[in-house]
């Protein structure tokens, strides 16, 4: 047990104080947290806001629970301890011709975190969320009980824990079904689009032909260029199209927080312009290794320091499909008018496969994610405006990215939140949970 003040989430926002306990043995019972009230599992801390924090309470650090347990080649089921990172799973499985069923935008998340946030990836329109590919896990509760959970065994606990933000207990181990691949490469097309209507058309056309789709959007463009960007779509390469082996090297790392003046409307405009015009031709084709395709930012260590000492917010919302795409249009207009948007916005169409969790974020519709440097009240006022549009459209905001949504918005976004309450472990809590429940 150690007292630490240096633990932050990826957005580096709140100052916190935690009592930390390292979990090293999945058979051990939970540490005694008497005196600090509550605990919360904490993996690699890649959630952006406060859903991975438990200020003034205890954190159960899980990154030493990183052992493989078994792999069944017939069923493609891999069982690991919950602190195993997706990065180390990939390192091991890709040479054998397997891939993650669903992969987020960073490989530096743990298996437990992937389940607790029911993460999604570029193949949501085909595969749905991560939770759909989990066949079983073990949940350790503060009363010492261990629940085996699967879609058929303790199914109500299974649904509560997937997307349950770590509140239902400690996931000690989990089983996922891997996807077979021929080689580590993807055939990828980059296609420029001039506005939102073109984006939706590309998305519709690509859903049937491509397993992975995502778009990067110039969030500062307005008028008839609103929503312009570059659409990326790809499929795992067939056996006869293996690319060159990627040299093993780690990229640069941002050593210290960047000074704030580097992030101003002018530099942001230049960056967005540069990205959009980097590609002259309408379409370019590439054979790309999975790492730069799925994890383009992972090659820059601690890139979150680029946003300076005050940290940053990420706003990710989803709005259901609508005839005129009004909500997403309005969101882009509001962001462009605020002149606060920063680097590229990520736009992706979610498919209709239901998410298994009570608090899962994805729903059929279109999701937008964008970073904002922390400008205090100005940022918060902008997010309130975006929330109003999202809520009105019947959408929701992603808890894993959130540091500020109000309790009223949370209840509206997640109508099943009250179904989760009976499953929350009495000894577990998080800064996020206290904020949206009680404030």
């Amino acid at each position: 047990m150690t007292l630490r003040r240096d633990i932050q989430s990826w957005g580096r926002l709140p100052e916190t104080e935690h009592t930390v306990h390292e979990i090293t043995d999945r058979y051990a019972s939970l540490p005694n947290i008497n005196g600090v009230g509550s605990c919360l599992p904490h993996g690699l801390g890649r959630s952006y806001g406060d859903s991975c924090l438990n200020d003034q309470g205890a954190l159960l650090l899980t990154t030493r629970l990183d052992r493989f347990i078994r792999f069944n080649a017939d069923t493609r089921e891999l069982t690991c301890e919950a602190g195993t990172s997706l990065a180390s799973i990939l390192d091991h499985i890709v040479p054998y011709g397997y891939f993650l069923p669903v992969s987020p935008g960073t490989k530096f998340v743990t298996l437990g975190g992937a389940i607790a946030n029911d993460i999604h990836g570029k193949n949501h329109h085909r595969a749905g969320t991560f939770g759909r590919h989990v066949t079983e896990f073990e949940l350790l509760r503060s009363d010492g009980s261990r629940l085996r959970c699967s879609p058929t065994v303790n199914p109500e606990w299974f649904r509560a824990t997937i997307g349950g933000l770590g509140l239902t207990g400690l996931i000690t181990q989990a089983t996922i079904v891997l996807k077979p691949i021929h080689n580590p490469h993807l055939e990828v097309e980059h296609i420029k689009f001039g506005n939102l209507a073109e984006f939706f058309e590309l998305a519709r056309e690509s859903d049937a032909s491509h397993e992975h789709t995502v778009a990067w959007v110039d969030c500062l463009a307005r008028g008839d260029k609103l929503g312009r960007g570059i659409f990326m779509r790809g499929n795992h390469a067939p056996a006869d199209r293996a690319g060159k082996q990627r040299p093993v090297s780690s990229g640069p790392s941002i050593p210290v927080s960047a000074p704030r003046f580097l992030l101003n409307p002018m530099t942001m405009k230049l960056f967005n312009l540069g990205f959009y015009h980097k590609q002259w031709r309408r379409q370019t084709d590439h054979l790309i290794h999975y790492e730069p395709f799925f994890y383009p930012l992972d090659c820059v260590g601690n890139w979150n320091r680029l946003y300076g000492k005050k940290g940053f917010f990420q706003y990710q919302c989803v709005v259901p499909f609508a005839e005129d795409d009004r909500a997403i249009r309005e969101i882009f207009e509001t962001i462009a008018a605020s002149r606060q948007g920063s680097f590229l916005a990520v736009l992706k169409v979610f498919g209709g496969l239901p998410s298994p969790g009570l608090l899962s974020f994805p729903m059929p519709g279109v999701t937008l994610a964008l970073d904002f440097p922390n400008r205090g009240e100005r940022s918060l006022a902008l997010f309130d405006k975006l929330d109003a549009i999202t809520a009105h459209a019947g959408g929701r905001v992603y808890p894993a990215k959130d540091a500020r949504m109000s309790p009223a918005r949370f209840r509206r976004y997640f109508p099943k939140h009250s179904d989760l309450v009976p499953f929350v472990d009495p000894a577990f809590s998080s800064s996020f949970w206290r904020r949206v429940q009680f404030s």
């Binding site: 150690t2 390292e22 043995d25 052992r67 493989f68 091991h92």
Partner: protein, 246 residues
């Protein structure tokens, strides 16, 4: 493939080194005190590619347990291991040791007498078999006695000297003795310490132990920059050193 015997296999650094050997499809015999933890590590190494993994529960701090462990390992492999990694140790509580000679003896037994005895026995077995490598996780703390942990430090200093002599004696018999000297490593043993920029991850340290053991490096600082830190610390004149609070 190579037969790897790990003594103190639940050590975080040893576990990470073992993962690298598992990738090379080695066979393992893991010895430690906690059966369940040894079982988890064995499962992990099998998924990572290990050919076969055996486990054995024993308290290695007790020298009389060693003979049985070595017999069990040789029986499991049907030969003398190619590589033996001795990885156990305890930091000890320097302040408590200052007033309790029994604690000092216990520290010296675990960190010096026991690993020295095992290394010597293993080296002789390997010499008879014609080849082998014994790697021992020692510490930079053995390079100079400091007020904050000189009991642990003197045990490691004794171990370093023993290994140096053993290496010298075994050189002609094709047996390599590798002294591993880690600096600060982020493991459960150092969980209570505040982590600074000098800390290496257990994974990084494990990778380096794997590399140096395969190479047969005589003395390996882990990571390498500790070689320079300790060079400076060793050369501070005693009149100045005795006034410092290190």
């Amino acid at each position: 493939m190579k037969k790897v015997l790990i003594l103190g296999a639940t050590s975080a650094m040893a576990e990470h080194a073992a993962r690298r050997w598992a990738g090379d499809r080695c066979s393992f015999f893991l010895v430690g005190r906690k059966t369940q933890k040894l079982e988890s590590i064995a499962e992990d190494l099998k998924v990572r590619g290990a050919e076969t993994v055996g486990i054995h529960t024993a308290d290695l701090a007790v020298n009389s347990a060693h003979a049985e462990v070595l017999i069990a390992a040789a029986a499991f492999f049907s030969k003398v291991p190619d590589i033996a990694l001795i990885a156990y140790g305890v930091l000890g509580d320097q302040e408590a040791e200052q007033s309790d000679p029994e604690l000092v003896e216990a520290n010296l037994r675990t960190n010096f007498l026991s690993p020295a005895h095992l290394a010597g026995r293993l080296a002789e077995q390997m010499a008879d078999a014609g080849q082998g490598t014994v790697a021992v996780i020692s510490s930079v703390a053995g390079d100079r006695g400091r007020q904050s942990n000189y009991v642990y430090g003197s045990a490691k200093a004794g171990l370093n000297t023993y290994l140096s002599g053993l290496r010298n004696r075994m050189h002609k018999q094709n047996v390599r003795i590798v002294t591993i000297k880690p600096g600060f490593v982020d493991t459960p043993m150092t969980a209570h310490l505040k982590k600074g920029p000098l800390f290496a991850s257990a994974e990084k340290a494990g990778s380096l132990i794997y590399k140096h053991t395969n190479r047969g490096t005589a003395v390996a600082y882990v990571p390498w920059f500790w070689c320079f830190i300790m060079l400076i610390i060793r050369h501070i004149p005693e009149p100045a050193f005795k006034r410092m609070s290190l």
